[in-house]
Amino acid sequence: MTSTDLTISNQTDAPPGEPILAGAHLRKLFPIQGGNPLKPAQSVHAVEDATFALYPGRALALVGESGSGKTTVARMLARIYDPTSGVIRFQGQPVKLGGGRALREYRRHVQLIFQDPFASLNPVHDVRYHLTRPLLVYGHARNAREADAQALALLQRVNLMPAEQFLAKFPHQLSGGQRQRVAIARVLAVRPQVLLADEPVSMLDVSIRLDILNLLQRLKVEDHLALLFITHDIASARYFAEESVVMYAGQMVEGGPSDTIIQTPKHPYSQLLIAAAPDPARLDENGKRTDTLPARGEIPSLVQPPTGCRFHPRCPHAMPVCRERFPTRTDLGRGHWTHCFLYSDNAQTEPAPVAGG
């Protein structure tokens, strides 16, 4: 990569300081209400054993195909869903489940940006309402006058100008990008320390995606926010986040510094994902791809997921042991880890070397 590349340089390998928000072995099952009471109750195994940490001023990208459980992870962290098992730690303290005051206090620090800005704003309320409510709820403004003034400042921060005009607008009068900016401003109104961004640009026009990403990037630096950045586009993970985690069918399969993951992916699924991502380096002068695109299979059913490593039905290197249990985490050094028997000592088979990307 050239020096003009926008990729964040990763000076330190070890994340600095203590994590502000961490998930340990998070698991989420969604029970399915079957019509037949005689059948055993089934559930969607949306997330299995998710472990990760967020640090102030740093972004962690969660990369995966549709249905891999990214949103479910973010919603567990935002306490919209309760984890089936596992622990969320905020500033080192385990977060207790349950609502009321404690939950509101938690949300004061952890806020979520929704994927679809066309659905996340209430059509009957104007921008002023959307921005002043959190200001009043969290006591940042004591009256309507203060709230209005702060709402204006927030609109300016997310580059919606002239701010006075946007204050009176209704969601249907705004474009997708403007709506997402309002959604971001609303989240900032709470003054959180952790921002969970669930595919914040996937519903937007390609032309404005970079603007929104740059805005988030700027806010991250200015407010020293810990950011969880969810995306299915691994290229934007590299642009945006210091660290990345790759998910497949509810399992976290590989993680580490974004550069490392993208340049030397170790897990067969990460390799597939990166090979499938458009990369200018792999295009010839006619814009045609020089390499062959590996066949992409379907993401498996999560109601009865494949046993062991869920990637085994599609994995070119699958071994018998892969069917039996999920590989433990293998540390590859410099913060890079993966769950794959190819790199694991306790696999019964010889680890086969795999060519990168």
Partner: protein, 316 residues
């Protein structure tokens, strides 16, 4: 704090204006809503007129509407603008004074229905589970109670007042609105903007009444107006059939006395026509309002209607 302060100039412009300016803005907004389309304009004109008559009308009535005179069944004249009835009572003053009871009780019933159906419908739909089961049973029981027969029994049993009829109609009418609101709430509670409002820290009652409820204004208003029309017609109908309190004045009682006094055979149109016309007119005014409510309640339609040329907006 982290927020970069806005310049003082922008602060002032956005600051709360004085209450008089706010009131002005409110009136202007209401006016622009009312004049949004022709149905609403006409409907609110008619209903507004009757409301004014109900409130202030009696102040302008100089003749005692119940006083018997010797001008029996007299046609309209300067002394009796709408003539007199069989007892020589002034029809015009009866009409004006009767507006209050006819309209008033209908509105009261509409409000009762609105309050019950909103509370039951929203709470039931939002919480689901046990609360919903209990409320659904109650709703379904009330749903099958026949309105008019019960009203007739109640009037015989308790007392012959408009209040009794209005109350019975209200108590048998709320389940319709409650069911629609419950279904709407059920589908709305899992919408993304509700989740977003929860995630931004809103309390449950705020979610129900400030995030979900405003999205249902058109249903609520429609059920209010529908009930009002129903009570208006039910009360008039029962009174016409003779289940009313003859000591009071209302449009229904006027029709009843016109019927028993054979106004039709005597050709005394001034006696039976005015109350009938008033009932029909008020009913249509309310119905017109009902048709236009969707456009008023939904900011999207509101804007579209305003952008479109007048003629188009009215036919759309």
């Amino acid at each position: 704090m982290r927020q970069s302060p806005a310049s003082p100039a922008t602060f002032d412009r956005a600051a709360q204006p004085a209450w008089s300016a706010r009131l002005g803005a409110l009136l202007r907004r209401s006016w622009s809503l009312v004049t949004l389309n022709r149905k609403v304009m006409l409907g609110s004109g008619i209903v507004g007129f009757f409301i004014l008559v109900a409130i202030f009308g009696p102040l302008f009535v100089t003749q005692d509407p119940l006083k018997y005179t010797y001008d029996l069944v007299a046609p309209p004249s300067p002394a009796h603008l709408l003539g007199t009835n069989q007892g020589g009572q002034d029809v015009f003053s009866q009409l004006v004074v009767g507006t209050r009871s006819s309209l008033g009780w209908s509105f009261v019933a509409g409000l009762i229905v609105m309050a019950i159906s909103v509370t039951i419908g929203l709470v039931s739909g939002y919480f689901g589970g046990f609360i919903d089961d209990v409320f659904s049973v109650i709703t379904n029981v009330f749903l099958v109670i026949p309105s008019l027969p019960l009203a007739i029994v109640a009037v015989q049993y308790f007392n012959r007042s408009t209040f009794t009829v209005a109350l019975v109609v209200a108590l048998t009418n709320w389940p319709w609105g409650a069911r629609v609101l419950r279904a709407q709430t059920l589908s709305m509670r899992s919408r993304e903007f509700i989740t977003a409002a929860k995630a931004s820290g809103e309390r449950t009652w705020r979610i129900i009444f400030f995030e979900i409820f405003p999205n249902q204004i058109s249903i609520v208003a429609a059920s209010f107006i529908t009930t009002t029309i129903q009570v208006l017609l039910a009360v008039a109908g029962l009174e016409f059939l003779g289940f009313g309190d003859q000591a009071t004045i209302s449009w229904g009682i006027m029709l009843n006395s016109a019927y028993t006094g054979s106004a039709l055979f005597q050709g005394a149109w001034w006696w039976f026509a005015p109350p009938g016309i008033c009932i029909a007119l008020l009913g249509s005014g309310l119905a017109l309002l009902n048709f236009g409510i969707d456009e008023i309640a939904d900011p999207r339609l509101r804007l579209k209607a305003r952008r479109a040329p007048r003629g188009k907006a009215a036919t759309a």
